[in-house]
């Protein structure tokens, strides 16, 4: 297993958000985490990388227990995280944004350079010196993904990459994600858009009100329209 999460429980202040979340991701696999707005997708990701202070449970990444590791150590061990709100550094140029994400090469994981990433996202290559604040939403989304890949991760948590993007950009995004997958990077992608998820994922989990309520292959999900209709807004 690349990543396995057991009994993950998270709180924000007095509010209990996640209940006994269990997830598994295999080597080179793309897994979708599906659910409505507010179901707990982002909190799950934030909890895995240690950005939620109050959480319990066990997170094992590449055989190592990282439950108690600080965020930067988890990320450095090869678990990349692309946040939902993009959070690019608006004062920094495209190249500087990538520089923040740069980490040393890791054995057995694909090595990304700015040139490779500009080939993956040609738009970015045309605006290397532009400050992040003066980019479109789609360009910013590409930049966040590229920035995380600069850390040469072996697994990426991708939080709602298609949110708010035009269909044309979504197509580019799908192509890019498939390229990353082909390079051997495992991906967990959270999505509300089932169509988008189906094009890139091998398996899916559905999360609802902080609980995992379905787990299976995409075909198994298609065989259960009741579950799909109950938990996903289409």
């Amino acid at each position: 297993m690349k990543l396995s999460v057991h009994d993950l429980n998270s709180h924000y202040g007095p509010a209990h958000i996640l209940f006994d979340i269990a997830l598994e991701v295999g080597e080179g696999e793309v897994v979708a985490l599906l659910g409505r707005n507010g179901a707990g997708k982002s909190t799950t990701f934030r909890s895995i990388v240690g950005l939620v202070a109050q959480r319990t449970g066990r997170i094992v990444f590449e055989g190592r227990d990282v439950s108690d590791a600080p965020t930067h150590a988890i990320v450095r061990s090869g678990l990349g995280y692309v946040p939902e709100e993009r959070r690019i550094f608006t004062d920094l140029t495209v190249e500087e944004n990538l520089e923040v994400g740069r980490q040393p090469v890791r054995p057995n994981t694909p090595h990304w350079t700015t040139e490779k990433l500009f080939a993956l996202f040609p738009n970015l290559g045309e605006m290397r010196g532009r400050p992040g604040g003066r980019m479109s939403g789609g360009e910013q989304q590409m930049l966040t993904i590229a920035r995380t890949l600069m850390g040469n991760p072996s697994l990426v948590l991708l939080d709602e990459p298609s949110e708010g993007l035009s269909p044309k950009i979504v197509e580019q995004m799908i192509e890019a994600i498939l390229t990353v997958k082909k390079a051997g990077v495992s991906i967990v992608v959270s999505e509300q858009n089932l169509h988008f998820a189906r094009l890139i994922s091998d398996r899916a989990y559905i999360i609802e009100r902080g609980r995992i309520c379905f787990s299976g292959t995409m075909d198994e999900l298609d065989a259960r329209p009741d579950i799909r209709d109950a938990h996903l807004a289409l």
Partner: protein, 628 residues
Amino acid sequence: MAFYIVQFLTGLASAASLFLVASGLSIIFGVTRIVNFAHGAFYMLGAYVAFTLTEQFSGAIGFWGGIVVAAVIVALIGVLVEMVLLRRIYHAPELFQLLATFGLTLMVEDLVVLIWGPSDLLGRRAPGFRGAVDFFGQNIPSYDLFLIVLGPVVLGILWLLFQRTRWGVLVRAATQDRDMVAALGVNQKWLFTSVFAVGVFLAALGGALQIPRDAVNHALDLQIIVDVFVVVVIGGLGSIVGAFVAAVLVSELNAFGILIFPKISIILVFLVMAAVLIVRPWGLFGKQEAPARRTPGLTVNPWRPLTSGERLAAIAALALAAGLPLVGGNYALTVGSEIAIFVIFAVSLHFLMAVGGLASFGHAAYFGLGAYGVALLAKMAGLPMIVCLLLGPLLGCLGAAVFGVFAVQLSGVYFAMLTLAFAQIVWSIAFQWVAVTGGDNGILGVWPERWAASPSHFYWLSIGIAALAVIALRIIVFSPFGYALRATRDSPLRGEAIGIDGKRIQWTAFVIAGTVAGIAGALFAYLKGSVFPDSLGISLSVDALVMVLLGGVETVSGGVVGAIVYKALNIWLVSRTDLSKLVLGAFIVLIVVAFPKGIVGMLETIRNRRRPKLSKPASLTSRIETAE
């Protein structure tokens, strides 16, 4: 003409050190969000260490080596401070961070005297820059020319550091979004430590470079920090270019202000600062911050008026206090009066901080204005005491009304820095306007009239007024005005959305707090029989802050307890040790790190834990109004 050019060049030379210190403060604030009050102390340490190195080790490392090594040594001390102290309080409210670093400043002041002695030290001239350059008949020290060149050179080096190195990119990224930098695998801890080291290095270098120009003494820290606060408020906190431009501006204003208003040149700086704040509240090169972190709010223990039982207890305590003349001698009564006066002062600041969410670092200004008001009325106009007591505090009220207009434009650390600068300006006026205020000699002979002259009568007067002040402020807290003020504190935007004019409400609270502080000052003038500029000084402002913090900033009347405990402790401490600043500073740091809720806050927490919810919840909830 040549004279003005020389004056201009002198101003530029002074700007160099100011820029170094201010840019260090800005860099540290940008990443850690801490306004490092101890920056002045590091500046001073830089000067002292450089003095020792250039005097005693100049054979080994030379003068310039001594300057650089001094800055490195102080930077290492800074690293130690960051790792031991600041790492514990990065998530504390900004007020606590300011206070902790202020405590550090106090400790350094005493330590410096312990190590280097109390007298001024005159440093060496810099080799190669001993002479002066003739400029159309005017002399310019060649060292000044060196400093004039150095400023832009350092600015350039910093620019390269931030634009062209990976470290600089990480620092700029962290200035914008610390968590995201961590989520990209960067260890924030070491980034923060390195940033702090660079900032302290700049401050210490600024201090070390001053030794050929000025004598080194143990009051340098407060002098420079006030100037630096003015610089970063004008230039914009977090901007290095802003620090440079504002440092030049302030230094030139000082250089030429002396020609125009020889005694009170600081007024010119103040006028410019006020103008900048009106046009650009975040400074010339600053950016508007996202709404600041909430000041210590009260989510755990909602406020409520006293129950009838608690009221009886308060009255009993007051009656007990009123009985002091039966058992205590004159000394005890004088101490008692002083404590009562400080209760008034502390509750006025507590009102501003806890209810208004505005942490003033210059509250002594209004205390001192009240005291000077009384002294001037009594000595110059010869008015009777009761009239003086009624009119004197109006000077505090007036001062608060004027400064408040500017202060409430800002919030958080900007507010704290601005109020501190205001207080320092009032202090310099009192210090320098000798004709009216007597300057350092103060105004003497302000004695109470016969009806209040005996210690017991004055004591009763003091606790009577203290009780009235506490009651009046409590009534305000639970009045519609108090609700509006708390709404503005907790969420200015939501307050505006329901029709509360937040700035006006905050201004009113500022004036109320200033007036009450003025009342305390008025009584203080009569208690001491004199007024000195100390009554406006920073240390008095900080005393008040510590009292509030000690009492608990999340409480309604914690200031009362804080004032009694702190003042009693302080009077006892000063009588026992010469190192009162060292002990006091350590005490402040300890409170911030270990007891951030204060005495009353801690008692309330303990009581709430002991008494679970089952006890009469219905009757309680009807009275409780939550803060959110």
